[in-house]
Symmetry: C2
């Protein structure tokens, strides 16, 4: 969830200065057009961890835009007047009218998150509150509002460093409160709860936009650019009547860093090591899948990655270790006619394993947010809502004692080219390379952004993605087998 906001994003000072000048002009433009049109209100939620610059962003936005058409509302503990009414009343009162912008500093998310982190409420109560929030936000967007939800994030180390810096400086030490220090101690708890909240409330019309808050330049420029794009996009949408809201724009990292292009693809493994470890892990997988308790669970393994990333070879290293009666490998290509006549998840439900069985998907339901997104096979609304639908789908499997292990195999563009050319030279591998593979290569960047979004939005606590540095096949295969063994041992206990 937060991986993309822990990469150390930053923007150099000179670049920032130049970009901000352009951004401010563009923001004033969209704000003016918004006010003229009076078509919809813009509600900006500012959430995130302490020290990530929430206040600075709110101040900057007021400075960059025309403050006469912005209302900034901070929500502390409720007043007596507010406490005697339903909790949502205070937010309703502050909603900006059509044509204007409201910045909400603290929001309807604050109380549910804090009370769960302090242990004052339970998971079920939090989930009920989140369902209420989803319905409330749906009403807002159905009514035409543009809802932008920012989450400013810091890694634990960065938050510690930030608070330490503030304390050291006599001019700022007063800003560090007891509450900040207490929250720092609860960092892991807050991280887990916020991740859950963000996942459950990221909808197609109002997704959370997670921004790394450490480098002020990156943070400010990213937030400002996103607001510019989101307002412009909704202004450009001329649909009237129903469903006036449009899918929110996806955040494009302005420094081009994402979780895939920051992987260290130089990792490799010697042949000898590889052979030894391969044997060790295959033996374990064999034992684990014959474990008596394996009969009460099932296993779903998902492989995604660029063409020629090594999915097939890795799958064979798993299947060699397992009794053929217990697994199925499902290669996912274009849907059949029968599949096309059904909701898109139907073709995967068909292959869900029963207890004691394994299904390995060579590509999967994630096609919806990869190939279908990039190639435009489905509408933007369709793939935006797919994140939530996929999380729902996987939750149902997990509730049924299915273990889900998901691999993304990452290779470099150069390595892919090398493998393509190799395949064309080796006659028995020639069938593996088609015109389409070459076409897909041209969209490399788009696929990388889509995959990075996918990992951010669907790497859940119960079904995390494992990113595999796959330029070296030996290294990749062993990491895959080891991850699988760890996940199985976690469920069934160690074998040996």
């Amino acid at each position: 969830m937060f991986e993309s906001a822990e990469l150390g994003h930053q923007i150099a000072k000179d670049v920032y200065k130049k970009e901000v000048a352009k951004l401010r002009e563009a923001l004033l433009d969209v704000q003016f057009d918004l006010a003229e049109s009076k078509r919809f209100p813009v509600i900006i939620l500012i959430g995130g961890v302490d020290g990530a610059g929430k206040g600075e962003v709110a101040n900057l936005l007021n400075e960059w835009m025309d403050p006469r058409r912005i209302t900034t509302c901070a929500f502390g503990p409720p007043s007596e007047e507010e406490a005697s009414r339903p909790p949502m009343w205070r937010f309703w009162r502050q909603l900006p009218p059509k044509g204007e912008i409201g910045i909400f500093f603290g929001s309807w998310y604050t109380a549910p998150i804090i009370s769960r982190a302090y242990g004052e409420s339970k998971d079920a109560e939090l989930d009920n509150a989140l369902e209420d929030i989803v319905r409330f936000e749906r009403m807002l967007t159905d009514e035409g509002a543009l809802l932008i939800k920012f989450w400013f994030h810091l890694s634990k180390e960065k938050q510690k460093a930030r608070i330490h810096d503030l304390q050291k400086n006599p001019k700022t030490s007063w800003r560090v409160t007891e509450r900040d220090l207490h929250h720092l101690k609860l960092y892991d708890k807050f991280r887990q709860i916020s991740g859950h909240v963000i996942r459950e409330t990221s909808t197609a019309n109002a997704p959370w936009i997670i921004i790394e808050g450490y480098d002020a330049n990156y943070r400010n420029l990213t937030a400002g650019s996103y607001i510019r794009d989101a307002i412009r996009k909704q202004l450009d949408n001329k649909t009237n009547g129903n469903n006036r809201s449009v899918a929110a724009p996806i955040l494009q990292p302005i420094d081009k860093l994402h979780i895939l292009n920051t992987l260290d693809l130089g990792k490799s493994l010697e042949k000898d090591d590889y052979t030894k470890q391969l044997e060790k892990y295959q033996r374990k997988i064999n034992l684990l899948t014959r474990h008596p308790k394996f009969k009460d669970m099932s296993l779903v393994i998902v492989f995604e990655g660029a063409d020629a990333a090594g999915k097939g070879g890795s799958i064979r290293r798993i299947t060699h270790a397992v009794d053929a009666r217990f697994y199925k490998v499902i290669p996912i290509a274009a849907p059949t006619d029968e599949e096309r006549a059904q909701p898109y998840l139907w073709r995967f439900w068909r292959h869900i394993p029963g207890n004691g069985r394994i299904t390995i998907f060579d590509r999967s339901w994630y096609g919806r947010v990869l190939v279908e997104r990039v190639e435009g096979y489905c509408s933007e609304q369709d793939w935006m809502r797919a994140y939530a639908e996929i999380n729902d789908f996987e939750s149902q499997l997990i509730d049924n004692d299915t273990l889900i292990v998901k691999f993304w195999l990452q290779i470099s563009q150069e390595e892919q080219l090398r493998r393509f050319e190799e395949r064309q030279e080796i006659s028995f591998k020639r069938f593996k390379i088609t015109e389409e593979d070459w076409r897909n290569r041209e969209k490399w960047d788009a696929y990388q952004i889509a995959a990075s979004d996918m990992v951010d939005r669907t790497s859940t606590g119960h079904a995390p993605w494992t990113l595999i540095e796959a330029n070296d096949k030996n290294y990749a295969r062993i990491k895959i087998l080891r991850t699988l063994v760890d996940a199985l041992e976690d469920r069934l206990g160690n074998v040996d």
Copy 2:
């Protein structure tokens, strides 16, 4: 919730015969067009109480339409294969493809309702299951499916009679199982739970259609006509891409009976009686609103009804009894510019009373599903989703210890005319009658249907509608005051 399905709807045999012949032809037509277009699947859920004719309807539909393009699935206890997979798997397997019709006899609703009624699950678990269902059904309709959810209802007396009839006849007595008799004992529990389920899962795209099941002619004709209209409406909608689904048609009672035109408007009260009771109830209202515990709650009273139904006079009979510092009367007319720039519920949130206070709404948020629906001031999708939004809104008030009392004042069309004419003759009342009032009269039937739908869909256990027979003003005012006193005493204890 079930009031409209307990009116004794029926269709005479000769009418039925004539109508069915036309209906069958129309059903075959839409089914053929659906199959030709292959644009969407039709999923028909058959739910409801035992003995309401669920099986007969499923059989008839197969008889009336081309059975080669219908699949009927009955869901009993899960098989071993099904039990080893997530609960939804069995339903996914049976989804009809685009162009075809699936009749689901028992559905994803069955297990949550039964297990709650048997006390195997709690309210929170039921609500979680319902949220999952709403998301699942939203996915289906987002994917373009037409989802028709029938609930066949019998009043307790009718269900008893039906089972008794079956038992008496040796040819049918075998059909009455132990389970049926057990469920009859649990009637009230099932009614309460089903009402809750239906309210929470009636969305704009997939509302429940409640049909009285006692008279077979009415039941069959209503179900068949609804299917015909729903498929035709979706076929006529040519929108492609996003949001392919359209708002479901509203059920129009084919025998023209609804909860409002079946009220006994002859009820009246003598002047003497009226004066005595007026004094008694006003005294009680005064005591109750000065009760020490009244400071920890608030009171919202809603008045709706046709023009000249007597809302203003009734409101004055309440306010005369209450300290003027503690109440506000909010007359709702067309929204102001400021209100128009906000989501539609905003103008009512403004007037929510704090603790110890009373707000009386002379017309209310129900305008969305009355005047705005009938006059076309908002789109069909907008008012269809308003039922759920209003229920959400009222739940929030109730959770905050607000008592909500809602009155619908019903007069006959003749009585309205008499009052209009009287107003025109009495100079000081002339301002009360406008051109618009005369125009509204022309849409009498449309308003009555809208009001009847409103009561069906928003009369909740915690905020029920009270229907007031208002042709006689004395009778109406006393019934209103008595209802209010009963509701307050229910909360605060008896006074006297």
